[in-house]
């Protein structure tokens, strides 16, 4: 399971992660010795678990985390991959990066301060990126005397804010990362709290049903053609299932050509399989000899993505250089690449207030906006809310080759306005 953590500086995120790793016995003797050593050198009398998550030298020198770091821990029930996103004001792009693949977000709140602008920003980003489970860890409860009233007030405030977002599953847990209360073990200080400790919550969260198992989507990634005597006529379409459940015998369509065929086999190195579902990597064989190549998409005849020449999308701008309407960019969606022109900036979103600024002329680093993109060739898309794999894209600066934006598709922009924007 993939977790993303977010919080403002000093909310205790590093301490909490250190605690999760430490209490789940993931910190090993040499790392601990190193932590004790560094803590002692800095004149601390207890081991600073936060030091564990300091990655690069520049970060250690500045005492802040500047880039997403990945951590791994496991319990008897589950293995976890944790993207640790720094909480600095200017680092929306890190949070978006870490959240793009996460199943659940942990948002840290300092109990003494309650939800801040950054709490709102991080929660909004989690919902924008389609994370279905958000857990608020109300930290430093020891510093507010384990006051139930403080916890409830924060919970109410966050509840009110999150009704404007689409997050199906919310949880609130009173913790002390420093002392370990309600992180792994239930705390004796919170008799009024009926829920589970954080780790128990993470271990028991049901995330399999978050994947789209309804709409069959198979972007062709790579064509396997051995051209050897033994495999003279072999032609397999390799890729990762992006949605739905595929079975041999299913009728399918290949887009954009619209050619119809049937699934002959679903092959893997370990033998054929009877079903393929996300995120399996397989090699698909069609019953007919069609001309299929990378970037094509295989789906069912009665359920296909929309072919869009113009996209209505939310983008997060990640480059130092601002972008204005008229900009030309490269776009990559599933296994397809093309070119795009930013036709219209409909509004810039203030991620703290959710206010839409329709007079905005540009998007700067870390800005989020709703845009219309005109495409050089149609893309086969689904709304991001429906399918993260076929509803996401990146934009690349063609001169510098940098990734400059991540995008979430609302729908095709032609004709009727797509409803349900953030």
């Amino acid at each position: 399971m993939r977790i993303v953590t977010a919080g403002s500086v000093d909310d205790g995120k590093s301490t909490l992660i250190g605690r999760l790793l430490f209490d789940s016995k993931e910190i090993l003797a040499d790392q601990l010795a190193h932590l004790e050593d560094v803590s002692a050198r800095r004149g601390l009398d207890t081991v600073d678990l936060a030091l564990l998550t300091d990655g690069l030298r520049a970060e250690r020198e500045q005492g802040i985390t500047i880039d997403v770091a990945y951590r791994y821990f496991a319990t008897a029930r589950r293995k976890f991959i944790l993207a640790d996103c720094p909480g600095h004001v200017q680092y929306t792009r890190n949070m978006v990066t870490g959240a793009s693949t996460a199943d659940v977000a942990i948002v840290l709140v300092d109990a003494r301060e309650g939800p801040t602008e950054q709490t709102r920003r991080h929660t909004f980003l989690a919902s924008l990126l389609g994370i279905r489970h958000v857990v608020f860890a109300i930290n430093k409860m020891d510093l507010v005397d384990w006051d139930e009233g403080v916890f409830e007030r924060i919970e109410r405030e966050l509840d009110a804010f999150t009704t404007r977002l689409e997050i199906p599953d919310l949880a609130f847990i009173p913790v002390s990362a420093l002392h370990g209360d309600n992180v792994v073990e239930r705390s004796a200080h919170t008799p009024w709290y009926g829920g589970s400790p954080l780790l128990w919550y993470l271990e028991h969260l049901h995330v399999a049903s978050d994947r789209n198992l309804i709409d069959v989507r198979f972007p062709v990634q790579y064509v396997v053609r051995p051209r050897t005597d033994a495999h003279h006529d072999y032609r397999g379409y390799a890729g990762q299932v992006s949605g739905g459940v595929l079975k041999p015998g299913d009728d399918v369509l290949v887009l954009p050509s619209g050619a119809a065929s049937t699934i002959a086999r679903l092959e893997t190195f370990d033998g054929d399989v009877a079903e393929a579902f996300p995120p399996m990597s397989i090699t698909l064989h069609l019953a007919d000899d069609l001309d299929v190549s990378r970037g094509d998409l295989i789906c069912r005849p009665g359920n296909h993505p929309q072919a869009a020449r113009e996209l209505d999308a939310m983008i997060c701008w990640m480059s130092e250089a601002p972008v204005r309407p008229g900009a030309r960019l490269a776009i990559k969606q599933t296994t397809r690449t093309g070119r795009a022109i930013l036709d219209d900036l409909r509004y810039r979103l203030d991620v703290n207030t959710l206010h839409r600024d329709e007079d905005a002329r540009e998007l700067a680093l870390n800005d989020i906006g709703r845009v219309t993109l005109r495409l050089s060739a149609p893309l086969m898309v689904d709304p991001y809310r429906r399918n993260r794999a076929t509803g996401s894209f990146i934009l690349v600066d063609e001169a510098r080759n940098d990734t400059v934006a991540g995008g979430m598709i609302l729908g095709p922009a032609e004709g009727a306005e797509a409803a349900g924007a953030a």
């Binding site: 090993l28 003797a29 040499d30 790392q31 300091d54 990655g55 690069l56 030298r57 520049a58 880039d67 997403v68 770091a69 990945y70 951590r71 791994y72 496991a74 589950r78 293995k79 991959i81 792009r93 890190n94 990066t97 793009s100 693949t101 399999a208 994947r211 198992l213 990634q221 790579y222 396997v224 051995p226 050897t228 033994a230 495999h231 072999y234 390799a238 890729g239 990762q240 893997t268 190195f269 370990d270 079903e275 579902f277 995120p279 399996m280 990597s281 990640m318 490269a330 990559k332 296994t335 993260r388 794999a389 996401s392 894209f393 990146i394 690349v396 080759n401 940098d402 990734t403 991540g406």
Partner: protein, 301 residues
């Protein structure tokens, strides 16, 4: 049917997906093979991604000249079994050509020199993408590494100017002379690798299992005796039962005391261990707090 992919299967699929992306988007990839367990897993993943076709890239080994003979023998057998192409880039050759200078003293190693040989080989063969077996759990500079990681035309990694990596949409655009490193095992832990080796019944070089060896102790670690080491004052060789957790240049790779002679026994020991892989076995990372970061910036694996 729950349609939930088990953890190892999900990691495997993520890795296969990255390998196919690189094969599709780059003209001249190569797969770096060290003979170690991580690169053995990489070869299996390449089979899963491209069979029954040939690998759309050669296998490349950077030979320090200080390798374990068992590992070189294993390499040749495995490559022959797969029927794929092997390129050997040799640190000896770089030294002979004056491109690299041998370190001296009792702690001399060719670990750092490998970077020169590697970058020269990339240039000679015109490689634009290199698969490596590095994992983010190995070391803290690696924890921030991208799955598809950009290198400038000096082969350098700039940790502060990494491209954002969103979803599974890799940006493979580079200019001539630049290249990328692709790390399909980024999200695997050491235990995942061992469990996968067991699941796939993959063969490993014999040094991964307990064996009697002539060793000596230095800085609390056990090193193999060989013609390449100079013993310091008070260092005494002795024979004991050891195995290796990683395979690198034999002068900097430490052995661990062990009696585990089967994969199952090794997995059990790893699951119970209280020391990280690098902390236990890699002298190269002990030099300074930021040793790995510095080497990576220069273009190391």
């Amino acid at each position: 049917m729950t349609y939930e992919l088990p953890h190892l299967a999900a990691l495997e699929s993520e890795a296969i997906h990255l390998m196919r992306e690189v094969a599709a988007e780059f003209e001249r990839p190569a797969l770096l093979f060290s003979g170690g367990k991580d690169s053995i897993v990489l070869l299996r993943l390449a089979e899963k991604a491209f069979r029954p076709g040939r690998f759309p890239f050669p296998i490349m080994h950077v030979d320090t000249g200080h390798n374990f003979p068992e590992v070189l023998a294993f390499r040749d057998t495995r490559v022959a079994e797969l029927g794929e192409r092997l390129i050997v880039a040799s640190v000896e050759d770089s030294i002979a050509a004056g491109r690299a200078v041998e370190e001296t003293g009792p702690r001399a190693s060719r670990n750092r020199l490998q970077t020169v040989t590697l970058l020269d080989a990339i240039e000679t063969h015109g490689f634009d993408a290199l698969f490596g077996g590095a994992r983010r759990d190995e070391e803290r500079a690696r924890a921030k590494e991208r799955m598809l990681s950009f290198r400038d035309d000096f082969g350098q990694w700039d940790p502060r100017a990494q491209r954002p990596e969103l979803w599974n949409l890799y940006n493979g655009r580079i200019r001539r002379g630049e290249h990328v490193r692709a790390f399909p095992l980024s999200n695997w832990t050491e235990l995942d690798v061992w469990q996968y080796l067991a699941q796939e019944r993959l063969e490993l070089p014999s040094i991964y299992f307990a064996h009697e060896r002539d060793v000596f102790e230095r800085d609390g670690m056990l090193y193999a005796m060989s013609e390449h080491v100079t013993l310091g004052a008070g260092e005494q060789p002795f024979v004991t039962s050891v195995r290796y957790r990683t395979v690198g240049d034999l002068t900097v790779t430490g052995a661990v005391r062990s009696t585990a002679t089967t994969l199952e026994a090794v997995v059990a020991e790893i699951a119970a261990t209280r020391v990280t892989e690098r902390g236990e076995t890699r002298a190269d990372d002990r030099a300074t707090e930021a040793a790995m970061e510095d080497r990576k910036k220069e273009g190391y694996f």
